[in-house]
Amino acid sequence: MIEALSAMASVFTDPYLLVLIFATTILGVIIGVLPGLGATTGAALLLPFTLTMEPVQAIAVLSTIYVSATFAGSITAILINTPGTSAAAATTFDGYPLAQKGEAGRALGIAVVSSTIGGVFSVIVLCIAAPLLARVAYEFRPPEYFALTIFGLSMLASISAGGAVKNLIGGIFGVWLSTIGAERVTAIERFMFGNYDLYEGLSFVPVFIGLFAISELLVQSKMVNRVVNAVSLKAVKLPTKEDYKKIWKTIVRSSGIGTFIGILPAEGATVASMIGYSEAKRWSKNKEEFGKGSIEGIAGAEAANNSATGGAMVPTMVLGIPGSGTTAIILVGLMVHGLRPGAYLFTEQVEKVYQIFGSMLLANLMFMAMGLYAARLFARVSLVPISILWPIVFALSVIGAYALSQSLIDVWIALIFGVIGFFARRHGFAVAPIAVGLILGEMVETNLQHSLKMYDGQWWMIFAQPLALFFLVLAFLGLCGPYLYSLIVKRKD
């Protein structure tokens, strides 16, 4: 415990990390306020820049981008009615109406405070829950890991964008992508079409840059004629005593909801903010104010979306199962820097783990300062013309895709997946399930192979393992539960 706390505290006394997190927070807030960029695209673009860093510094950069961009989405949501990230969509419901009433500073102050409390709360939960879960995960064998990854894939059905079936199809496509290259046991070449650059499989980084950054570039092309009506802002105001009295219960409730939703594999900040907002409305004594500038609405959405960031890091670091597109990129960052996510990370690299947690805590405090003192300045960044912004994203994407393996094939892979991602999104398929499927694909196949070897080919023995059965039942309920429930309700009616 003392070792963990001192590792966390070391982040606050390391000048290099302090400067790095400060600079990354600024960058994260800029990325968050630019409509279309967001935490996932930002993390995908920045991943190549972390290559020469130490593992803790690299993950600190990625997780700082995650928390600060998630928060910053609220700045544009309040000031220009355009959520910088999808997680801030619920903030527009009350943030913009309040800003239109001439209280933009108050709305931003409440968003900043709620986000910080939510974020800090979730990091504390992360510090407590992750080692406990790691102790359980330490006992996992291939059948349990296989069942767990199936559970993770089944949770894709409930990712906010797309629909359940479409997300599962995306996930299956991602898992199939992981089979490209030489099969690990037999070395038989699968779907390589004679291209030996693919022998070790598709690299995650170019695929992610394509899916998240380049496809977003193509999607953003519909914004060419966008007209932005910005609300004026004089200064950000901290909530008053009266405000605190009104919102503290909402912040506590939404922080809990957000953290819990974040912990669920494949759920994320967007779902958390929507549920946080609707729960704030349900419990409020002033329901009629919602949609017209309710400060409880802003607090409910903001505390929930930022607390989901810490929660989402739990399955990512302990089980190697990412909860969203951004955590999928952080997971790749861990792997690229030699930190294999899982229970062993908490026994063999415990100091690094707590330094990462410490840097997340620091990032939460830093974006509070930025939000309070520089929101006005950052809001202006969102007015950068897209004809300047997106060519820059193109350059960063191409160079970033090349940088990891220094191979031109990765550039072509990024462009191809950009186009695939665009067409997928155009027809209502989210790209995050493809990314999560690609990461989990190897785990599914390898653990299934090992399980079959363990039980001499008797696959049904997987169901005889209590923990594995538990995860498979959860997966079944996750997939079929809503349909079964609606069937029961229909019968009752």
Binding site: F49, V165, V185, F191, N225, P391, L396, Y402, Q406, H427
Partner: protein, 154 residues
């Protein structure tokens, strides 16, 4: 019957069938290597069978309600994709990412509605140059040799 409704399920079905066919063409490993585990072809086939079931459910859903497609500005979207192709050709001819990137950045800026030529041009020169210097000096990434990088690397 509206055929457009079924175009996506049809595409996904063809894709799944092609993958199953390609998987069946894969070699099989001797028993002594695979043992009680599965052949290399089994897993992709298993995935595509699940995919086909999901496509069936999707077709049923589409027959009830067909979702809206994402609206897009036709000219900037398609021309951006065309620019990716131009980028590929330029890299292939020049061998140099830093010849192709500024050209594409400049053209993309114009296609996306930038009316001031000098703004697009400045962006197309300064951004790749600063990113190149950052990657070269700080991250020590070597870029492929081509028209410009040959001059720089000597």
């Amino acid at each position: 019957m509206n055929i457009k409704i079924y175009s996506i399920p049809l595409f996904l079905t063809i894709f799944s069938i092609v993958i199953i066919y390609l998987s069946l063409q894969l070699e099989t490993s001797p028993e002594m290597i695979v043992g009680d585990s599965m052949q290399a072809r089994s897993f992709p086939i298993f995935l595509m069978v699940i995919n086909l079931i999901l496509v069936g459910v999707l077709s049923y859903q589409f027959s009830k309600t067909y979702p809206k497609e994402v609206e897009l500005e036709k000219f900037p979207t398609w021309s951006s994709m065309l620019l990716f192709l131009v980028f590929y050709i330029l890299v292939t001819i020049s061998g140099d990412l830093f010849v192709a990137i500024p050209v594409i950045m400049f053209l993309m800026g114009m296609v996306w509605g930038q009316k001031k030529l000098w703004v697009s041009l400045t962006n197309a020169i300064i951004t790749p140059l600063s990113v190149f210097l950052l990657f070269d000096y700080v991250l020590q990434v070597r870029f492929p040799r081509g028209w410009l990088t040959n001059i720089y690397y000597g």
